[in-house]
């Protein structure tokens, strides 16, 4: 017994290493499995409120870039207004349409913390379950898609950004019927890869990559980025397209969370399909 104790004492550093390393690795792996539902993340109240304070200072440093992107968004939206199109119809009458419900609603949120430089990046915003934010909602910025809501607490929510290895946003090239998942390869925070596009497609440089509108998260046609270059990997029949992201994550200050009012209906229906298939 004494010898054993002496042995342990002599190599105590090694045993400390084993103990603490086990604890940290268990935390690391467990945390991944339970999808970061632990109390330690930034949607946590204390850390979230500290970040809010720091961000109130940081905000001023990026004001130029933020204003710029918001102004550009305003221009784009103004161009879509009905009043900026030539009206050539002779008779005009307003039709009260009660069937046409609002499908997508947007909730404005401010970024209080963000990560860009890790392999898996998250963004924390100052809206939570109190404001109607739920897990799985889409998030866009003034210039393009940002990510998907991941964890929600009462006052904060964390977003899994496009810059994350598990994020797969179904996207397509504008005005083509083809779509595929968008993958970030973890090298450059401005470039993502669009896969599964058939190589017969005659791709124009600078073509716009937009959301496909499939699924329930994003409406159709929201800008993701522009095509940088395309190539076929290793004799496959699909193109690997490098896409330059429209969102500048460094200057991201305000985001909109998309609430789909018909999400439950669509999901229930699709679930029924699966169930009836299993029977």
């Amino acid at each position: 017994m004494l010898n054993l104790w002496r042995f342990i004492n002599k190599y105590n550093a090694f045993f400390f290493l084993i103990i603490y390393l086990t604890v940290s690795l268990v935390l690391l792996v467990k945390n991944n499995d339970f999808q970061r539902a632990s109390t330690f993340n930034t949607s946590n109240q204390i850390v979230g409120s500290i970040y809010k304070e720091v961000n109130s200072v940081n905000k001023y440093l990026n004001l130029n870039l933020v204003n710029d992107s918001l102004a550009k968004e305003n221009v784009r939206l103004r161009n879509r207004l009905k009043s900026s199109f030539l009206d050539d119809s002779v008779v005009s009458k307003n039709v009260e349409d009660t069937i046409n419900h609002v499908k997508y609603e947007y909730i404005l949120a401010e970024v209080v913390n963000k990560y860009i430089t890790s392999r898996n990046n998250y963004i924390t915003i100052n809206r939570g379950s109190k404001d109607g934010i739920k897990k799985g909602m889409g998030v866009i910025g003034p210039s393009g898609v940002v990510g998907i809501v991941w964890n929600v607490s009462e006052n904060f929510a964390s977003i899994q950004s496009i810059l994350h290895e598990d994020t797969r946003i179904t996207s397509s090239i504008e005005n083509t019927p083809y779509f595929g998942p968008l993958i970030w390869e973890g090298k450059n925070p401005n470039v993502v890869t669009l896969t599964d596009i058939p190589n017969q497609l005659n791709l124009k440089p600078k073509a716009r990559v937009v959301t496909s509108g499939l699924g329930v998260i994003f409406p159709k046609g929201i800008l993701i980025g522009t095509v940088l270059k395309a190539g076929v990997k290793g004799g496959g029949s699909f193109l690997d397209i490098s896409v330059k992201l429209a969102t500048n994550f460094y200057a991201l200050q305000y985001v909109y969370v998309i609430k789909n009012n018909f999400q439950t209906e669509q999901e229930t229906l699709e679930k029924q399909n699966k169930e009836s298939l299993n029977e």
């Binding site: 550093a13 090694f14 290493l17 603490y20 940290s24 690391l28 792996v29 990560y115 973890g186 090298k187």
Partner: protein
Amino acid sequence: MNSIIKNAIRYVLLVFIQVFLIKNMVLFGLNTPYIYILFILLLPFETPNWLLFFLSFLIGLNIDVFNDTVGLHAAACVITAFVRVSVTSITVQKDNYDSDPEPTLAIMGFRWFSFYALVLTLVHHFFLLNFEVFRVSEIPTTISRVLLSSLFTLGLIFIAELLFFRKKQRK
């Protein structure tokens, strides 16, 4: 007592700088410095092993809480602590010094400190980034990130050390 207060201040300061300031610094794509390991580097030699490991684990976990990466920095820091124990036990003979030596640039000299900082930084960054990516196929990319980030961190460590450089009056 004096040393406890000094290290406590250093702890708070380094965590603060790492979490709120350094996070926004990027070099060539994805390389950020992790200056907070300076805390582990500068703990006094006479720190008992249990305390050294506990403090390393604590500062790692503390950074993790702010980064949403529970266990990642903690694991890398614990490995760094182990390497620190090995390196100091090989290279430092306590009998050679009249007063208590401390692992700082000013006291131990440029050659020893640069070796010590280089080894510990490389080990820490290697395990940190590989645990983060957690994929064998991406190891070559990760190694380049390790090297560039280490360069960045070492630069900051030397700046910090030279900034607080105080020549010890050795008798």
